[in-house]
Symmetry: C2
Amino acid sequence: MSLLVVGTVAFDAIETPFGKTDKIVGGAATYACLAASYFTSESKLVSVVGDDFPQEAIQNFKDHKIDIAGLQIKQGEKSFFWSGRYNNDMNSRDTLDTQLNVLATFDPVLPESYKNSDYLMLGNLVPAIQSKVMDQMAKRPKLIVMDTMNFWMETAWDDLMETIKRVDVLTINDEEARQLTGEYSLVKAAKKILTMGPKFLVIKKGENGALLFHKNQVFFAPALPLEEVFDPTGAGDSFAGGFIGYIAQTDDISFNNMKRAIIYGSAMASFAVERFGTERLLGLKKEEIESRIQDFIDLVQFDITIEE
Amino acid sequence: MSLLVVGTVAFDAIETPFGKTDKIVGGAATYACLAASYFTSESKLVSVVGDDFPQEAIQNFKDHKIDIAGLQIKQGEKSFFWSGRYNNDMNSRDTLDTQLNVLATFDPVLPESYKNSDYLMLGNLVPAIQSKVMDQMAKRPKLIVMDTMNFWMETAWDDLMETIKRVDVLTINDEEARQLTGEYSLVKAAKKILTMGPKFLVIKKGENGALLFHKNQVFFAPALPLEEVFDPTGAGDSFAGGFIGYIAQTDDISFNNMKRAIIYGSAMASFAVERFGTERLLGLKKEEIESRIQDFIDLVQFDITIEE
């Protein structure tokens, strides 16, 4: 099934305890599309870059069968740029520089061929822009997944609430879930968020895994314990891409299938953090993904039978 | 199979965002014995209290079929007392008062009937005292589990290393694993600790679950997401008690059985935090425990089959 992904395609400059990069290709939609490409061959990208964006990165999208008809390239302008430094714990980071550039005036226009996409992933963007993408769909997608962040809770609350109301799955991190609801307990926070519109909620906890809430059900997937987390940038977006990519491939939005999607998403995140930027998400082999899924099975599966 | 538990039996005074208690019965061995009592009916307690320790608490041990022949009651002296206040996140706490009292001169003497115990749980104590308990065993237990804390890393390093060398399973929290090894990555820390003597390592991460390491294998169990964590005191000790209690009951120290034991331990911890002190660990029904285990199964189990 077809999947439409909207979000940033950008440059990042990253410092971690393991080293630093010059400008490398990043952005939420980049990670999400690459991760999803291992599941569905019908990914469509909507984003904007400047004429400084490298041909090689565009070729990477093409090699991964990602449709870039909706990728605007603005002549004479520069791509969105973010620079950050991770602390030793790799769970917190400081932003060193943010240059919106082309993102400041981003007005997504969906090509006709995108408007009937079966699945929609709204990467973290201004909530009004996310809504605008939904407005342009010719039919209501089978599932709309939305990512957002605390910044919009502080600067665009009303728009955020209007946008959240329209989506099926919200993905946010634990601190954002707390900020959105004023509840410290994630179980209580989830209950509140599930009254705001979304039928499903994914709470991302970084190295502490992810929780999926739906009605009174809850599912938990750990992050894979790794010897080294090399660069956490894009982990959440790779997770989201693997999650929605797997759902688009299987065309099944049952809770049981979403559990599997969470595991596939976690696997894609575990690859993403092994190298700087998108390096590890390029040219992964099917066997590598299957072996990683087996690692997750080994990590959490146990056999206890409760007598009825 | 019989289980010997050594550790503190004490008074706690606790403040949480939900309320505060006067002196209530606590202590690592109290929680561990009560949790273990749901699995093995042959728990033996070694500890020390003053003559201020309430008969009712002693009756609770008896009601749970816990052998207290090794519980010294020192006339004219006072029981160990700890007082603490939990912060809003419930993951950190400040110690308000510590009165060692009888614990300052604690010299555990094992009754003859204890010396052939099959399983041994060394609760957090001065490492030299933990060693002294091992010295008194008539035969080497099938499995020795040891809990410790950062305080001994700072004040009794050499004794700690000597004691750790002699045990099979070490249980510590994530920060302690990092402090013990100087490694931030828990996977790297685990590799180092598994060269120090223990064949198994349990890293407790509080509300973020627990990891079991053995050779190149790793197993993860989440904590149950709860609407309210009422009082985290004793969660780690209840976990350890459920873990070793289940192993003693099944008399099986295979990695697969330890996985099950980790789940049972996590279930006992999830009960402990639902009320102040040991309240929830008294008089639990078999059906309540089974229902809680089912919650864990529902929380983490998924069905993905990797084609060979």
